[in-house]
Amino acid sequence: MICRITDSPIDMDELTDSLDSPELGGLCTFVGKVRNHSAGQGVTHLEYHAYPEMAEKKMRQVAEEIEERFGVAHLAMAHRVGTLAIGDIAVGIAAASAHRDAAFKACRYAIDRIKQIVPIWKKEFGEDGVAWVEGCAVDAETAEPQKAQNQRV
């Protein structure tokens, strides 16, 4: 199982190849790329920052949650950090299972959950300036996310 923070380009083939097995009929992948727009304004590039050790630990937690919830043990996920251009892959996820329903659910849960609990931050450089994109404030007591506001810098 791959749970990786990396400053190199993400190779989806590597992620999917890591899951290859003759009993797995369904493979669902998600690729998150840097868009040229965000909340109606143009974006020129992004910086992704992470707390790498904790981020990989939390990714492994996401994988454990997925195995518990959906019985899917064949997962690979990688998130890139550093400066990314439009079109670069920021995050890649692959989930394989005997049947498609579990593969889709695992992949969807992975990206949603990564955005909630994996300590990665996105700084957006756009037409209107620079902002930290802050999706989820983690509630200290429950370690569960709640909606946050972006911080302009």
Partner: protein, 83 residues
């Protein structure tokens, strides 16, 4: 005692540091860490509830003990992924 706290993203930007040292009483908790942080960097006061604290790479509640040997972090709201 002196504790060392890692700063990330917005927290790193406003402190200007990768890590800061804070003074807290013996037997301190995350709540004491926050108090010391707000004194030293008043900019945190206004949005303290959106900053999570990690203790040894886990999100930690206000009553969690903090010790000089712990790996401590300030975690602004995260934005993993994209789209």
């Amino acid at each position: 005692m002196k504790i060392r706290v890692k700063c990330f993203a917005w927290a790193k930007e406003v402190t200007g540091e990768d890590e800061i040292d804070l003074e807290v009483p013996e037997g301190a908790t995350v709540a004491d860490l926050r108090e010391s942080l707000a004194e030293r960097f008043p900019v945190f006061s206004g949005r303290m509830e959106s900053i999570a604290v990690s203790v040894n790479q886990e999100f930690a509640g206000e009553g969690t003990p903090v010790d000089a040997g712990d790996e401590l972090g300030l975690i602004p709201p995260i934005s993993g992924g994209c789209a």
